[in-house]
Point group: C2
Chain length 196, copies 2
C-alpha cells in the first residue's frame, strides 16, 4: 500500500483479525489514519487493557475480569440447572431471552479435531467436575446446530450420561415467525421429529 | 457479550473499524482473547506506532514516515507527469502495473459534499500549486470510475484546464480477459466511445 514501514506493520497486524483480508486491512488502516486517529488510539488501549485484565471465570470459563464472574456469583440463579454454550456471545443471546435462570458452562469453542481442538481444549474434564458437584440436576446442551456443534453436544452428552446425569438439548424446530414454505427441509424434518 | 467492562470497551473500539458491526466485533474480540493474545498486543502496538509516526508527504499527500515520501524523492521518476489518485491503495495498484514512471498526487479521498468532503479536504489548492510548478506537463486523472470519482475528476479537470494544463483521464473500456457477453453495458458503451 505504501512505502511506510509502520503502515505495513499495521496492515499485517489488522490481517490477524478473523475475516480480514489484505483489502479490508488496507481500508481499515487508511480509515483510521486518515479519518479516525483517536479511534486508532482507543483501539490500541482497549486491546492492551483487555489482554491485561480479561481472564476466564474459574467456575464457568467465560471471560471475566474477576476470579469468578458475576453470573456465577449471583445467588438468585438456579444452581440446579447448567447450560453448556460454545461462546460468551451464545451465552449473551440466551441471557437476552430471559428464559433461563440457571448457570452456565462456556466451552470457549467446540470440538474440532482437525483444528486440534479436543476434549481438553473445551474443558470437558472441568465440565464433568462442575456437573457432578451434587447440586446440578440437569445439564442443557446449547451448542450450535451445525455439524461441529452437534458432534460436541454428542460427546458431552455421552460423557455426562455415563455419570448418570440428566442431559437435555435445546429443541430443534421452525423459527418463530417463519413461513414453512421458506424454512429448509432439514429443519422441518427435525421439527416433525421433536413435535410436542 | 459479557459482564466484563474491558471486553465491552474492546468490542466498541473494534466497531470503529469500517465494515465491522457488532457481531464481527464480538467475533474479533473473542478470537483475539481466546486464540491470539500476542496478535492483540501486536495490533495494539502497531496502531500506536502508526498514529505516532505516519504523516502525509508534503509533496504528494500520501502516507509517509518522512517529510517527503520515497516516490517523490526518487530521481528516476518522470517529474513531467503527475498522476492523481484517490488513495495510497490506488497508487499502489498503479505502481504494480509498472506502466507509470511519473509522480503522484494522492487526494486521500474524493469529493463527497454530503460527507463534508469538499475541494479543501482533497487538497485541490495544493494540487494546483504542484501542477503549475513549471515542471509538470501532463496531469493524468486516475480517480475511480464511479459517480464520486467521476465528479472529482471533473472538478479537478476544469480547475487545471483553466490554468492551461494538459489533463488526461485513464481510458474506460473492457477489462483485459473479459468476454463481452459478461461485461456490463455501460462499460461496453464507454469502450465504443473511447475506441482507439
Ligand atoms: Zn462464571
Ligand atoms: Zn510524496
Amino acid at each position: 500500500m505504501s512505502s511506510t514501514n509502520a503502515l505495513d506493520v499495521l496492515i499485517q497486524a489488522l490481517r490477524r483479525l478473523p475475516g480480514v483480508g489484505v483489502k479490508s486491512a488496507q481500508r481499515m488502516a487508511f480509515h483510521l489514519l486518515q479519518h479516525d486517529r483517536p479511534g486508532a488510539l482507543a483501539l490500541s488501549r482497549a486491546l492492551e487493557e483487555a489482554v491485561g485484565s480479561v481472564h476466564h471465570c474459574t467456575l464457568c470459563h467465560t471471560f471475566t475480569e474477576a476470579e469468578v464472574c458475576g453470573t456465577c456469583l449471583d445467588p438468585e440463579r438456579d444452581a440446579t440447572r447448567l447450560c453448556v454454550v460454545e461462546t460468551p456471545a451464545d451465552q449473551s443471546a440466551l441471557e437476552r431471552t430471559g428464559a433461563f435462570k440457571g448457570l452456565y458452562f462456556v466451552l470457549m469453542g467446540r470440538l474440532s479435531p482437525l483444528d486440534g481442538i479436543g476434549p481438553k481444549e473445551i474443558g470437558l474434564q472441568k465440565l464433568m467436575e462442575r456437573a457432578t458437584n451434587g447440586v446440578v440436576q440437569e445439564v442443557i446442551l446449547a451448542t450450535n446446530f451445525n455439524a461441529e456443534g452437534e458432534a460436541t453436544a454428542h460427546v458431552i452428552s455421552e460423557a455426562l450420561k455415563s455419570r448418570g446425569l440428566h442431559v437435555t438439548r435445546l429443541a430443534r424446530g421452525v423459527p418463530v415467525g417463519s413461513e414453512l414454505e421458506y424454512v429448509d427441509l432439514g429443519t422441518i424434518a427435525h421439527a416433525l421429529v421433536d413435535r410436542r
